[in-house]
């Protein structure tokens, strides 16, 4: 399992955890269940903590790392450009179309609910992270896969 697959797997697990715990808690709230998982502070804290972690990854970390990546340089070699501009072109602008699609998806498919915002932000962030890793590996001459 490569780095990209591993990080993608962890992000998917985080989203899976949010989905499962939120569903279990919301089920109890919606149906006035006698046994409510929301009364267990550990699960509520777990849900909140994972949401914060995913938000930090998909917004803060990815934004910071992508900004640093697009301004980074490496030592030029025989087949390596110092700035790597040829590889960096296109990623941010093309991914902008994905963000636009996510906005429309949130509005029409999920009714504009902010509950799904974290999923869409995480998927957008993961795509940007994956793209940066692919570009970087191509730039430094490694196998992008």
């Amino acid at each position: 399992m490569g780095e990209i697959k591993f990080i993608a797997g962890l992000v998917m697990f985080a989203l899976f955890s949010i989905a499962i715990t939120t569903y279990a808690i919301s089920f109890a709230n919606d149906n006035n269940a006698a046994v409510d998982l929301g009364n267990d502070s550990k699960f509520v804290n777990l849900n909140t903590q994972i949401k914060e972690n995913v938000t930090k990854f998909s917004i803060t970390d990815v934004n910071d790392s992508s900004t640093a990546f697009f301004t980074s340089t490496i030592e030029a070699g025989d087949e390596t450009m110092g700035g790597g501009g040829a590889f960096k072109v296109g990623l941010s602008s093309v991914l902008g179309s994905v963000s636009s699609l996510m906005s429309v998806t949130k509005t029409y498919l999920f009714g504009g609910s902010n509950l799904f915002g974290i999923f869409l932000a995480a998927i957008s962030g993961l795509l940007l992270y994956t793209g940066i890793r692919y570009v970087y590996k191509t730039w430094v001459g490694k196998n992008p896969d």
Binding site: M1, F13, I20, A28, A34, V35, L37, N39
Partner: protein
């Protein structure tokens, strides 16, 4: 003195289940364990017969989600399932999810 008090069947099917779960506290956990193991072994065995291999992480996720889907309606009435059992089901589901999302498929390099 009787070993087991018969449930009052005139008050509805939920009262029968509550009385049974009250008289035999391990009944609901064992029922959920039965569902989990049946889906896990049944699915993986059927997949092995058809394709020659079984994807245990995938079937563990499916089995745990199936168990969760059965256990959630049991929370609607007092006395059938307690919060500890439900918590264990949710934790097992999350662990199976971690196994699934970090496991390597046999077709991956």
């Amino acid at each position: 003195m009787s070993l087991y008090n018969l449930p009052n069947s005139t008050t509805g099917i939920d009262a029968i289940i509550v009385d049974t779960a009250t008289a035999v506290p391990i009944f609901i956990p064992m029922l959920l364990m039965f569902i989990f193991v049946t889906v896990l072994l049944g699915g993986s065995t059927a997949q092995r017969k058809r394709t020659g291999f079984s994807d245990l992480p995938l079937w563990s996720v499916l089995a745990s989600i199936s168990t969760l889907m059965v256990s959630l309606p049991l929370t609607l009435v007092v006395g059938i399932i307690n919060v500890l059992t439900l918590s264990i089901v949710v934790v097992v589901t999350l662990l199976c999810g971690l196994w699934f999302f970090t496991s390597r498929n046999r077709y991956e390099v």
